[in-house]
């Protein structure tokens, strides 16, 4: 992620510190003045320069103050995963917000450390796939000191590198090792999203595995099929189904001789997780659930007997579901009911199990409100939300998303569900949510997002391009009066169908996030994550 580039840039800067800082400054000035497009290398160099300067200031305190060139925020680019679109993101928050005291760098200490870091970086670069800048210095001799402030290097996840043949090959090799078949891409991909997978629902992965599946546990095969066909959809449902399947796997598991349950079971789960990932990319909630299960498994003491260990694991999973999903839902609806007053007109989008739960609870507690359900193609999930609310007895109106600006003047609150909450406060949810939040903001209608804490993830995203999911493009075909529109879309070379699943909503449009820890503003998500990590 951004951190990887960061450390490389730090090393860069530190080595070049003696070389000609003046030259680099000139470069910056030139770029600013001329304003022409820099090459990729140059941009990287410049970035590294700035970070190196900042780092040096932080390192050597007590030196004389030295005014550095003020760094315009536009240049301090924090590169997101794709190097194609270096979006100018205002997330300076991620650069180690060092003390901005301008200090003259003490060259000797800095240079030593720089060399060590440079060597570390060179090693990492040798392993890494992306071509690092050509200015990677030759490796020094000293080892890199363990620096607690240095963030962990994160590799780019493979699911956003589909257009990089090296990454695809690596994935294919990994799957082959795990004996999982590779799912083939389908159809022409719109160029902006060609780095994501696009599969067809008519070509399930089960075509390529043997029918009484021996490599993959039958429950996992069934689960993967249900994911790819959309029978289990929705963040909570997918997590519960996943944990249920894991319970079955654990029940059927037998420790092979000379192996330990705590290590072998985790290895057993890895191919299953790859398989499920092939069927449908994992959601953030599923990722957190998997992390929890793996942690629990590796915490099993070695002397524990197999039966006991299994029982313990099964009860851990049950507890997780009870705490993080069921009880969380109860808590969230208790908080949310305070925000629902009599006479409210509440707008909901799509089918969020949590929001439905809240509304049904509020209705049970005799609040008087009415609901407007907004729906969008191609999934038309709002119909299911509508059915559940009407069955309960709530007064509902149903509109399509194109009518949102028409009905918003009548709305008093907007309740949205979330697929995940990202570390920089952005809300990742069904595509269309950010539109609703935007229009609501324009009409000054409060937007409340309801999300359990187990959906918080440490990823950072500021746009919907970088990491998303492409659904089957054939879903966009619609049959009206016996005629299937877009039937032969594949024959038209210039036509691409795009069926996005998720989008991100900036925290400026979200007024409140209701979680099981309470009602927090969107920007407090990193705090929650930090507290959670400390707890665990």
């Amino acid at each position: 992620m951004a951190d990887a580039d960061e450390t490389s840039k730090q090393a860069e800067r530190n080595t070049n510190v003696g070389d000609g800082i003046a030259v680099k400054k000139q470069d910056i000035a030139r770029a600013k003045n001329e304003g022409k497009e820099l090459t990729k290398d140059e941009k990287q160099r410049l970035r590294k320069e700035k970070k190196q300067q900042k780092k040096n200031k932080k390192d050597d305190k007590g030196e004389s103050e030295h005014e550095n060139v003020p760094l315009p925020p536009s240049q301090a680019v924090v590169q997101c995963q794709s190097q194609k679109a270096p979006s100018v993101a205002p997330s300076l928050a991620l650069t180690p917000v060092s003390v901005c005291t301008s200090e003259k760098p003490a060259k000797s200490k800095a240079e030593q450390r720089a060399e060590r870091r440079a060597r570390q970086e060179a090693d990492r670069a040798a392993k890494g796939k992306k071509g690092e800048s050509a200015q990677q210095p030759p490796s020094g001799k000293s080892k890199a000191p363990p620096n607690e402030l240095q963030p962990v290097v994160k590799r780019l996840p493979e699911h956003v590198q589909v257009d990089d043949p090296a990454a695809v090959r690596k994935l294919a090799k990994k799957l082959e090792r795990q004996q999982i078949p590779v799912r083939s891409e389908y159809g022409y991909k719109v160029s902006l999203f060609s780095h994501l997978h696009q599969y067809s629902r008519k070509a399930p992965l089960t075509q390529q595995i043997s029918i009484p599946s021996t490599v993959i546990h039958p429950y996992i095969v069934r689960l993967g099929l249900q994911y790819s066909q959309g029978i289990v959809a929705g963040s909570n449902a997918r997590s519960i189904a996943l944990l249920h399947a894991f319970q079955k796997v654990i029940q059927d598991y037998k420790t092979p001789p000379n192996e330990e349950l705590s290590r072998d079971l985790v290895n057993k789960l890895k191919p299953y997780i790859s398989y499920l990932n092939q069927c449908r990319p994992l959601s953030a909630s599923m990722g957190n659930a998997i992390k929890y299960v793996k942690k629990e498994i590796s915490n099993i003491p070695c002397l524990c007997k197999e039966e006991e260990a299994k029982k313990q694991l099964l009860s851990c999973i049950d507890n997780y579901i009870k705490e993080k999903i069921t009880l969380a839902a109860t808590t969230i609806s208790a908080y949310a009911i305070e925000k629902i007053s009599n006479g409210d007109v509440i707008l909901v989008y799509g089918c969020s199990s949590l929001v439905n739960h809240i509304l049904c609870d509020a209705f049970d507690k005799k609040r008087k409100f009415s609901v407007i359900v907004v729906d969008s193609r191609p999934r038309l999930e709002g119909r299911e939300a509508l059915r559940r609310l009407v069955k309960k007895g709530i007064c509902c109106t149903y509109v399509l998303i194109s009518a949102v600006s028409y009905i918003l003047p009548e709305v008093s609150k907007v309740f949205l569900g979330a697929h995940a909450l990202l570390a920089n406060g952005y809300v990742m949810s069904r595509v269309g949510t950010s539109q609703i939040a935007l229009v609501a903001k324009a009409y000054n209608v409060p937007v409340l997002v309801c999300c359990e804490t187990y959906k918080f993830c440490e990823r950072v995203q500021t746009d919907s391009f970088v990491s998303n999911e492409l659904d089957d493009p054939d879903d966009l075909m619609v049959t009206r009066k016996g005629k299937i529109h877009l039937e032969n879309w594949q024959d038209i070379r210039q036509l691409g169908l795009l069926n996005l699943v998720y989008d991100v909503t900036p925290p400026d449009f979200v007024d409140l996030v209701i979680t099981d820890l309470g009602m927090i503003p969107c920007t407090s998500v990193p705090v929650v994550l930090r507290v959670k990590n400390v707890d665990q």
């Binding site: 043997s210 029918i211 289990v232 929705g234 449902a237 189904a241 944990l243 969020s352 199990s353 059915r387």
Partner: protein
Amino acid sequence: MELQAVLMAAGGGSRMMELTYNTHKPLLPVGNKPLIWYPLNLLERVGFEEVIIITTKDVQKMLTPDRLKLDGKMKLDVVCIQLEGEMGTADALRHVQQKIKTDVLVLSCDLITDVALHEVVDLFRAHNASMAMLMSKLHEFTETVPGQKGKKKAGEQRDFVGVDATGQRLLFMANEADLEDGLTIRKSIMCKHPSMRIRTGLLDAHLYCLKRCVVDFLVENKNISSIRGELIPYLVRKQFSKSVNLPNNKDEVEMSQKMEGQTNLEILGSCKDEELLRLTQERSCWNDHHGDMSEAYHGGKVRCYVHIMEDGVCYRVNTLAAYIEANRMAPKLIEDPPIHPSAVISECTQVGADSIIGASCQISDKTSIKRSTVGASSTVREKVKITNSILMNGVTVEEGCNIQGSVICSNAVIGRNADIKYCLVGSSQRIEPDARHLDSNLSINDSALGSLKMSRDWPA
């Protein structure tokens, strides 16, 4: 373990006695491979490693791997049953109930198909169905059936199959024979599925995926003896019957079991239904139908699905016409070269591209073989013309014969200069030289056939 395969091979072939009175149906050669090879090959291709074959003692002796020419390492577990009692397919399944530990895939030995089996099994898996089956569009047989003397056999009674709008959920199934007053559809079905397509031109492939609890249910209910005839219609009807108020705790379950003589299928099935599955379905925003207020699957626990093959090969070789048609289609399904390497064919013969010559055949000069199948170890002398015919193993054809549109069973001898058109020559029969036969059945006579009628329940 996910699925176990059970192959029903004890049927007598009662609808083609002319062929089966001497050779058992599973061993009838189609494209020079025994009939049972085709379903076994299908299972093997898909990845099954073990099959349970239910058959008679005589057939069991012949089912050695080299006889069957199976390439792979599939393990065959052959179970014998006696044929004296009228044992139906469901009875046979009950017989092997001890061996069945998971869900089961039942198929019949006379199925020749190239279906992508994952389509059927995926329906079974994805919807957690009680039963998933395979059906195919019925193909009209175009070849003239020999030995019929031009009379058209009375049309088989049609099957009425009702599927829902998606074409996958099975709503209604009945045979014309059972519908005396007309087709009645219950109102509850129409309420739940207002759009239903009723199809009549479908062939039931007799390939069923059944859940484990259905097998347990069979064990409890001994009065069901045929899978196709009784179990499947029962399951289809059960989808829509008024569901019993499912008891919540175990005591009530046992009490209600004692009260009813017949163990309820739902109780057996739903005890296994778990809390988490219910929670998943509750939280998932998917529904299989839209427009009414009920949840997915209308809350029904029993679900039956069908996969209808629109194109592709699917035959059930249970009549003479089907047998002939299957022989025509066989070259497309087999990867082996049509002409066996050990066959001795002299240079002046004409063997058409769509003919199959078996092992160790001897074809002499000046013969012409078109669109035909010649079985293993057959001898064909000079100046013979064979068109559109099927010769089984060990047949001897003397010089100058002309065989057209006929079926010659194993070890028959056709005398010189005989002219056989559209005939069926029985096993080990001798045709005199210079005989002229047109459209006749030259096997043992019908009265003898009648005494050999076997169990009628078998997929025959």
